[in-house]
């Protein structure tokens, strides 16, 4: 059954285990490809991961003059092919979230490939595998729909920005607000 990466931003504790684990995926050359930010560091301890959302119509791939960014049949937007990438960094500029990273020594872009050799076989990417808080989850569409129903605020919106943030994405995101709309047990 097809599973997707799903982000429950409110759960993040800023441990950056996802960054450490990213380096552990075979083919990632021990470089991490995601980000974790302190949302408002002088005020509270809220943090959030920023992951590639694997756009259905990815700006990074569209902007690539060398067609180095391939889209896998699962929808995962892969890292630039080493033999094609010309190091122009168009992709980083084009991405609405600035996801692709750049290796200045090798003059090559690298980005999240959703640990394609794991995720194509149904195994969660490393980040979602280790995430201690379930900020990063690996769910079926049915499970995501259940969450959408559960946290329905009955105001025409889900607590996430739906249907999507910028363009349609393969990764689904629930913005902070998981506790809104939960009915308490007692």
């Amino acid at each position: 059954m097809k599973k997707r990466l799903y982000l429950e931003l409110e759960n993040c504790i800023g441990c950056r285990s996802c960054l450490a684990a990213c380096t552990q995926c075979g083919g990632h050359e021990e470089r991490n490809r995601n980000y974790v930010y302190d949302v408002n560091p002088l005020v509270d301890r809220q943090t959030m991961p920023l992951m590639c959302l694997h756009c259905v119509n990815p700006a990074c791939a569209r902007s690539c003059p060398a067609q180095a960014i391939q889209i896998h049949e699962t929808g995962a937007v892969l890292s630039a092919l080493v033999e094609k990438c010309i190091g122009c960094q168009n992709c980083t500029i084009a991405c609405p979230y600035g996801i692709p990273k750049f290796d200045t020594e090798q003059n090559l872009m690298y980005k999240c490939d959703l640990c394609i050799d794991r995720s194509k076989d149904g195994i969660p990417p490393m980040c979602a595998s280790v995430c201690p808080t379930n900020t990063l989850q690996w769910l079926t569409d049915e499970e995501i729909e259940q969450k959408q129903n559960k946290f329905n605020l009955d105001n025409g919106k889900w607590v996430t920005s739906m249907p999507y943030l910028e363009g349609e994405t393969n990764v689904k995101v629930n913005l902070p607000g998981i506790l809104q709309g939960i009915s308490k047990l007692y």
């Binding site: 005020v43 509270d44 809220q46 794991r118 280790v130 808080t133």
Partner: protein, 729 residues
Amino acid sequence: MHMDNYKNPRDNFFKEIENINHPDETLVPTHCSYCAMQCGMNLRVNTKTNKIIGVEPRYDWPVTLGKMCPKGVTAYQQTNHPDRLLKPLIRDDASLKGTKKGFREASWEEAYDLIVKKFKQLQADYGKDSLSVYGGVSMTNEKCYLNGKFARVALQTKYLDYNGRFCMASAASGINRSLGIDRGSTVPWTDIPETDCLFLAGSNTADCHPTMMFRVWAVQERGGYLIVVDPRETPVARRADVHLDLRPGTDLALANGILHILIKNGHTDDDFVKKHTNGFEETKELVKQFTPEYTSQITGVAPEKIIKAAELYGKAPNAILLFARGIEQQVKGVDNVSAYINLALVTGNIGRPKAGVGTITGQGNGQGGREHGQKADALPGYRKITDPEHVKEVAKVWGIEPEEMPGEGVSAFELFGLMEKKVIRSMYLLCSNPVVSAPDSNYVRKVLKQLDFMVVSDFFLSESAEYGDVVLPTTTWSEDEGTTTNVEGRVIKINRAQMPLGESKPDWLIQVELAERLGRGKYFSHLKTSEDVFNELRLASKGGKADYYGVTWEKIKKQDGVFWPCTKEEDPGTPHMFLDKKFYFPDGKAKILALPYVPAAEEPDEEFPLHLTTGRVVYHYLSGNQTRRIQFLKDMCPEPFVEVHPETAKKYDIEHEERVRLFTRRGEVIYKVKLTEAIRKDTLFVPYHWDFEQAANILTNPALDPISKMPEFKACAAQIEKLEMKKVQ
């Protein structure tokens, strides 16, 4: 080497996944080297070089489901780290103690000969008790057990203690006093998401035990409640339904105040209290004065928050109450623990699934390591060295006469006092780094420097090893096998993934070989493997409270760990404690205790007007001897800092990232300021994982809890000062 002694049931499934099973690699299932969550992990081992090269999630481990914190993900980088000690080191020039200088590599034979010569000489000159052993609980049960036997039988000294005194000692004493047995947690961790109200007292769970966070959040996602007690708005407190933001050191008043409301508002389970507890009436009388207003005056927590927390806990169909170092590392740590357990006892929230109490143990084997006789007053199976019957039972297993058993010694910090007085002339330190982890570190350093002879066993040259005359290279957790007992009280198996690097040896083997050279071989030579040690531990614990007799390595493998007590081979173990409502006292009743409030040993005053509390960050573990060497963790948090509320900072005219002088009666340290509104205005916080000039424990107060001998790391009085001001003066 036996890679196949733990069969992963999903092995066949994973074989197909190319990203998990790489060519020329094998996966060895084991657990993390760090905290008591003991997260499951698979170590990736290159089959050509036989070296550990990475980590893979262990999805089928029921406690953590493949999850790991950043320390866990990078833990494997310790094993083949360039800083590893590969040969014994000897330092001939004692004047260089306290530095990294003057060590030369030596053979094991030369190191052993020197140790034996020095130990024998000191004992001849000053008596058996001139030697001391200082252990730690990041070691396996096998090593912790053997360390106790080594001190008492091989060295024949009474001066043995361990770093659990800085970790779980208050929890152990408090739980024993209230419930009669210290099985850390009365419920397995898999119960947490099923409870209706989770009460966390003095636990910065998100930073200290990250991999239990998915279960914590699950409580709220189900519609349950989360209550957090902490002077700081930590990542877990940030999302709490009630955050009780108390002044450091006032937990006992807060617990009494909550108990006051529980009784006043009729949330007590009178039937449970009557049938299964003693002490309710007396306690009820004592907490009468702890009205919300009175409690608020002491704790600084708003009365309505105290009432709300009590109501939520009191009304919960099932509640789990967990506590950690925040309440335990105080001069009244034991009373704090019992005061929180009182809440569970009066509401009957104990002795059934989804309801219970527990301490969130810090060190990897904090639970098992405190049960089997590595402590000044303890013998295996949680027996007492002061009880002649207990001594007789253990002496029989060890093959010594009961009269030969040394008496009760003193606690870890008190050992330093006896070293200062020259009662103790030597220390054999293993698996601990007290120069960083003990309070008042300037004093500790001074004392260690005076020792006649010190032996340190470690795999890195720790700050404490810098005081050694001999340093023995020991193995990391991944180069030996054995058991640990996790935060739940579940005995689990650590598997060996790589042969020991260089000439390093596991501590149990070092102790067997030393015992032989000390002429005590007949008590140790039969222990050829760590499983031999475990089987002797089973016998030595048999009949004690922490009875491991029925735990076998085979059974651990078969059923994903075994919860003690497990008294017989056919006994599957005890995931839930007290299901029969029988507590471990002669009348079977738990103790509700009347505990009068006392303030911290050092309260703020004019000279030192702020509270200082210490704790951890998610990227580092304990004294940092391991994690400060791991690049990723170092990059994420390279140095300590002092957290200051912006309003407080304004008063002192200090800014974010400015360096300030932080000082207490014991010393001063210069820290970078981290401004955050997520801390009380009257409180400062410093993480304690760093050494020397940056050590938080230069500042902390060594006042000890009278029962557990736990130092008061969590509360002392401090002052900050702008650096430039000093120059001007």
